[in-house]
Each structure stands twice: as C-alpha cells, then as structure tokens.
Subunit: 239 residues, 4 copies
Amino acid sequence: MEKIRVTVWNEFRHEKMEDSVKSVYPDGIHKVIADFLESDGFLVRTAVLDDDHCGITDELLENTDVLIWWGHMAHHEVPDHIAAKVRDAVLKGMGMVFLHSGHHSKPFRLLMGTTCNLSWREHGDRERLWVVDPSHPIAKGIDRYVNIPHEETYAEPFDIPEPEKLVFIGWYDGGEVFRSGCCYHRGNGNIFYFQPGHETFPTYKIPEIQTIIKNAVRWAAPVYRVNELVCPNIEKLTD
Amino acid sequence: MEKIRVTVWNEFRHEKMEDSVKSVYPDGIHKVIADFLESDGFLVRTAVLDDDHCGITDELLENTDVLIWWGHMAHHEVPDHIAAKVRDAVLKGMGMVFLHSGHHSKPFRLLMGTTCNLSWREHGDRERLWVVDPSHPIAKGIDRYVNIPHEETYAEPFDIPEPEKLVFIGWYDGGEVFRSGCCYHRGNGNIFYFQPGHETFPTYKIPEIQTIIKNAVRWAAPVYRVNELVCPNIEKLTD
Amino acid sequence: MEKIRVTVWNEFRHEKMEDSVKSVYPDGIHKVIADFLESDGFLVRTAVLDDDHCGITDELLENTDVLIWWGHMAHHEVPDHIAAKVRDAVLKGMGMVFLHSGHHSKPFRLLMGTTCNLSWREHGDRERLWVVDPSHPIAKGIDRYVNIPHEETYAEPFDIPEPEKLVFIGWYDGGEVFRSGCCYHRGNGNIFYFQPGHETFPTYKIPEIQTIIKNAVRWAAPVYRVNELVCPNIEKLTD
Amino acid sequence: MEKIRVTVWNEFRHEKMEDSVKSVYPDGIHKVIADFLESDGFLVRTAVLDDDHCGITDELLENTDVLIWWGHMAHHEVPDHIAAKVRDAVLKGMGMVFLHSGHHSKPFRLLMGTTCNLSWREHGDRERLWVVDPSHPIAKGIDRYVNIPHEETYAEPFDIPEPEKLVFIGWYDGGEVFRSGCCYHRGNGNIFYFQPGHETFPTYKIPEIQTIIKNAVRWAAPVYRVNELVCPNIEKLTD
C-alpha cells in the first residue's frame, strides 16, 4: 500500500510572537504534528503562512492526500483565491482535517457554507472528550473519553451543517459542551473537524489526541480524485 | 386549525410503589404532562400500563396525533404485539415523543433498530441541557441552556442511529455528556427522543422542559397519514 | 397567523432576449410564480437582476421570509458581495428556494460549499418527477409522481452535500435520473432546491409544480431569526 | 492484512423450484456470488435456509466479517429469534449487505425499523443504475452508470430511513426510479442495501455488479466489534 501523503499547514504566528506559546511549541505546532505522523509511517510535508503563496501551491495540493490546517489570528491573511484553491482541492478529492480555531479559517467556512461561529472563553478549563461512536474509524483505539487537562472552552451552538457523523463531544468543567469531532463529505473529499488544540496548551502532545489525528488522516485519505471540476453538456444516451 | 390530539402514555408504576416518586408525582407523571399540555390548548388523553390492553387500542392510535411515552421498570410487560402496533402507528404517520428511560421501551427500540443502550448512574447530578440548534422548532423559546437541578446521569455512547437533527446535548456536573434531544423520521411519522425526566425529580414541572415538550408535540404532529402499510404490485405506467 | 412574505427573484434576461422564452413567459418567470403565490395568500414581491443593486437590498432581505431564486445565464453578474448578503440572510433565518439552473447561482454555491455541478442536455425530454417521501410537507397533495411533458435533462452526479431530506427524484425518458428536490438547513435558515423549470417550457404553469413551490415556501419560512451573526466571547457560567 | 471473511446466505428455493431460475443459477445465487468473491481473495462460506438453524449459528456470525443476504419467497421461514441474532451480530459490528428482495427480510426490517415496503412490477424492464456519488468506496471502478438488460422494477416510495449515503439510483425504461444503493451504520455495524438481482435474470454475472458487491464487502467490514450489547451502570468518574 502506498504511503499517505500528508501536509501539515500551520499559521505559525503565535509560536513566534508569544512566549507562552513558544514554550509549548518552540518549533511550531506543525512540527509536533508532523513528527508524530512521520513516526507512524505517513509521508509528511509542512507549510506555513509566511511561506511563498502562503505555503499553498498547485503542486502541493496535487501531491497531498490529506491536508491538516491550524490557523487562528491570521485567517484574513490567507487570500480568497488561495482559500478557494484549497476548497477546490477538497472537492476534487483531497482529504482535510481542520484543527481547533481552524473552524474560522476561510477554507472551512467555504466548505461548510455557514459562519462556523461558536461561543468561546479562555479559562483553562479541563475538557473531557467523549467518544460518541466507538465504531468509527477515527475513534479506533480510544477508550470512553480522553482527558485534556486544559483547553480553551468552545461552546454550542456551533454554526455548522448537521455533521454527517458526530464522533466526539467535548465536556468542559466550566459547564459547556461542544461537538468536537465532526465528519463531512464534500465533492469528492472527506473533511474532519477536530476541536482540541489551543496554542497555549500541549494538547497535541497527548498520545490519544495523536491517535485520533492519525486515524483522521487515514479516514480522510481519498478514494477517488478528479483533475477538473466540470458541469458537462452530455450527449443523448445511445446504449 | 384543528387541535392536536395528544395521548400521554405512562407506565405509572414507580409513582404507586415508591414514596420518593409518589411525593413528586402523586397522580403520576402522565397527569403533570397532560395538565400543562391541556392548558396550552392540546386535546389530551392519558393511558397507563395497567389499563386494558396496556392502554393501547386501535381506536386510541387512530385518534392520536402525537403519542408521548414514559416507561422504565416494566418495559417487558408491554407485549410484543402491542409494541408492534405502536411502531406501525408511527410508520402510518402518528408522531411520537419518547421521554427519558423510554429509550429502552419496545416501541423505541423497534423504530430505531438498535439496542438504544447507554451508560447511566444515579447520583442526582446537576444537568445543563444545551441548545445545539436554536433555530429548530423544538428549541423555540429556549435560551442557550436549561438548568436541571438534579437528574439521572445518562452518558455516551448512546446506541442510536445518527440523529437526523440533534437539538440538545446534556452536560452533567459529574463529567458526562449525552445527546439529549434527537429527531427522526420513520415511515410517515416524526419521532423525538428527549432525555430529561427521571421519576424521582420534578423535571416535568420545570417551565422550559414543558415548553420543549409542547414544541416537540407541535413538531411531531402528522403531515400525512395512511391507513395501511402496503408493498403494492403496480401496473405498467401508461401516461 | 401572519402572512408569509415571499420575494421572487428572477434574472429576467432570457424572457427579454429569446422569443422562444418570451412566448412562454411574456412577463417573466417571476410574474407567473408571484401570481400563483399571491392567489394563495402569500404576501409577494418580485425583484430582478436589472433592478438597482441587482434587486437585493438589506431592507428587502430583512422583510422577506422566503426568497425564491431563478437565474441562469447571468449568474456572474450578481456581485460577490450581494451573493454573500443573500447567504448571510439565510444563515440569519430567511428561507430560500432555488429553482432549476439556480443550482449554479452564487448564493446556492456559497451555501452548499460544493461546485453544484451536474450533467445536462437540452433535448426536450419528458420528465416524471417521483415523490420519494410522501409524508414530507413539500410533497403534500402530490400523487406518486408529476408528469412534466418537456424539461431540460439534468443528470447525476449532482455535486451537492448529501441532502438532509430527499423529497423528489426526476426520471427522464432519455435515460437519466436526478435528485430533483433536496432539503437543507444552514445556519438558521431552510433551503430547498427544486430542479424543474427550464425557461423554454411552461413548467411553472403546471398545477402540481405550483403546489410544490407553495409547499416549499411554507416549509422554508423561518422559525427563528437573528439580526447578527456573531462568535461571542462568553463569560464563565455562574448559575 | 487479514482476509475478509464473507458468508453468502441465500434462501435457495427459487433455484430449486422454478426452471426459469434454475437455468440462470443452477447451483444457486449464493454459488455465483461466492465464486466471484473467492476469486478476488475473500474468505467465503455459504449458508442456505434449508441448512440446520436456517444456516445461522453463533459460530458462523462470530466468524463472519460481512454477511450477504438474498431472500424472497420464504422470509417468514426465518424464525424471529434467528432474525434477531443476525440483527444483534450487526449491532456488535458485523457488516451486512442486503440484496434485492432482501429489502423485506426480517433482519433488514429489524435494522431499519420501517416496513421497507416499495412498489414493484415484473415486466423485465431494462435498468440503468446511476452512480450518485462517484467518490464513494462502493462506486470505485464504476463508470457513470451500469446497464442491466432486464430487472424486476422497484419503484419509490421505498419506506426506509433516509440513507446516510445514497450511492446509486436506478432508472427503469418503464418509467420508475428507485434508491438502489443505500448505506447505513447501526450499532457498530455497516449495512448496504443493493437493489439489483432478480432471480430470473443473470444480474450477478454482470462484471460491474460484481465489482459493486466486492466494494460493498470491503466497505462493510468491521472496524470495531463487541462481544456483548450492554447498558452499563457506571461509576462516578474519579479521574
């Protein structure tokens, strides 16, 4: 079986600008994610916002099976035409995993068609991430729940289309709940939204969180890809 | 507009056998529910397990727009043929609202096709019932969440088909979450499962819970009903 | 009960430029649709592409419960910011019915997140529009199928998110099938896509098609509307 | 990778009683299906209604990854407790593919919760089976549609829960349409319903139909299986 080609895209700003984040992810969130994927046999590249073309080229998208996206403070710096390019790559068949504040990234909003708004607060709440569907491939190897010592609190209502499959629900000790793991299929591509991963907490170093992201990449890998998105004028059937 | 004809079916055993329940619902859970529905303009009947035919007759089902079901300790006393009759009434178009431990009632399990198992514990946890979709008719008039001082704790995984629309998620201060308000359409009928309502707590006296049940009845009322469930041998089309 | 306020938006170009269309809809497609809605008690306005601001103003959207949209050759003349305004009105709660080639309109594509591509050919095929769910409010009063003497053929695959409820499937005597009636909920708004209505055929004069559109308007009317789309920073819960 | 263990269950009555069927499937429908699966590397067993225990034992179910089911005239001869055993095996994680008139088999009806009624007629219509979602694993390797020279006509409405994913729609030259390939997840198990395969026509000898069934088996194979279906009383969380 061919290796799955993953690109981890990270905004990579907080890590350079804020000491509290730098101390957790000195080489960037993308580096931590790339490392645990690589050690599991995926073929991994990384790209960041400050790369040329925001790190997103046609070549990259064509050679990426699954794109992971972490962004937050600079969503608006991704130009519309690049966000549309990412969306189109998904519609052509590329898989995509949006992490945490990626809920408000341009590609996710374009793919969902909704605002993707939610309610939020930063109090370092503890999160207990519950498995809703233990038989889903993305929950493979995960027990009833995952304990996350501190997370940013995300609360319902989360303005997304009804998930085609809801895999995780987050519980916060401050009193909120959130649909934390949501599956979609758009065009020819699979999309997974996964809530954990605030930049000031070492969430991506938690083994179960890494397992979930690896599972999500395997789940999102394409079955079928097309080169062009077309609306063909067809001939009258003759067979 | 015609009044919606509601039947409130209650097992009505706990209220007779346990003082802790009798003190909360001296005339039965069905009486409390019937009263708030009646005062809102619905045409209400009640039926209980110890009635003839378990309270379920053809006449009743044919003249019921929405059936509300509360059961717990005596699910097995509802004979299979009566459970099948209830299921068939839903498939013909009757709406149905299953409350709390009704998740394990025969009609609900027949309609879902799954075990409807969940995890549970009785510690009198506080529940905060969150609105996931504020634009759903069943959430009309409800703020971000409803506080329920004490409830039995229900926890995921809840073995149900993916809800067609998830309206509420329950948060418990003991640490669990639960998909507490779930919409389905089966055959010609609408089905709403609603988790709150343990017999030892006065949950059905909470105004917001009453609002939700009234909304659910309006939402579940039939658009279209058939008299028979058939699999017809059709003629070749000639038009 | 308040009357439902409907706006019928039409591109209104074919009717002015092509005799074959003018002869079918001399005053425009919007006029025919507005008339049958008005005579059924809806409060109807019309708007066309060549009006100021493409016929779409904030005032109009705020005072429209359900917007019907017919467009084809001039989708690109609706500026992006106006398409986004329409999308946002839906997300705030306005209902929307997209007709026929409206599948490629900017607002529909924005709301779906996909290309909304399909296969098509113009051979004046006969269509038989089948009811998949007779108990859906939009199919109320419709028999097993509706005969449409001539239609443009639309064929699968239709690149849309899996419909939340599929109400109609079209059969064409040339050999194709199409998911012709599809329901969605996005943000706070209901969306119905309905395939029939090529400009050269008098489809909107067929009584059953009118019934379906009237049903769709009633179904899409809002339950809940918001004035702003926000992603609030919330306080720690204290109750 | 371990081989997928498939059991092909067939009623195997028509083939023994009717010459028109015997001439098409002299050794039974199950033999033809088992053969093409075996030659593709699956580990295949067969079972038929007239075997002991209707061919269904605990041992068989525990050692079957995916069960294929063809039945028609003798659905009622499968006892309820055996149908329930099959349902429970699916809920524990076994995959299941229901073929053609298996829509009315007891296990399918139990899993769906609906009547699974449809309209039907036998005129040897030609069917064109359209791919609705070319990116679905079950459609892998299939072009826009598959031509089936003769089939029994199945028509909407088909009384099933809204498919979680609709993969195929059937078009019949007599004028009907049908949702011919439908995916569900129930409990821990995957379920695929596939319409083609009337006993008097050699449908299962068509290469594309064989490809679809092989794809369906791979898609339905379990991710996660449990030994018991339980509704546990859980302890208060302490971590």
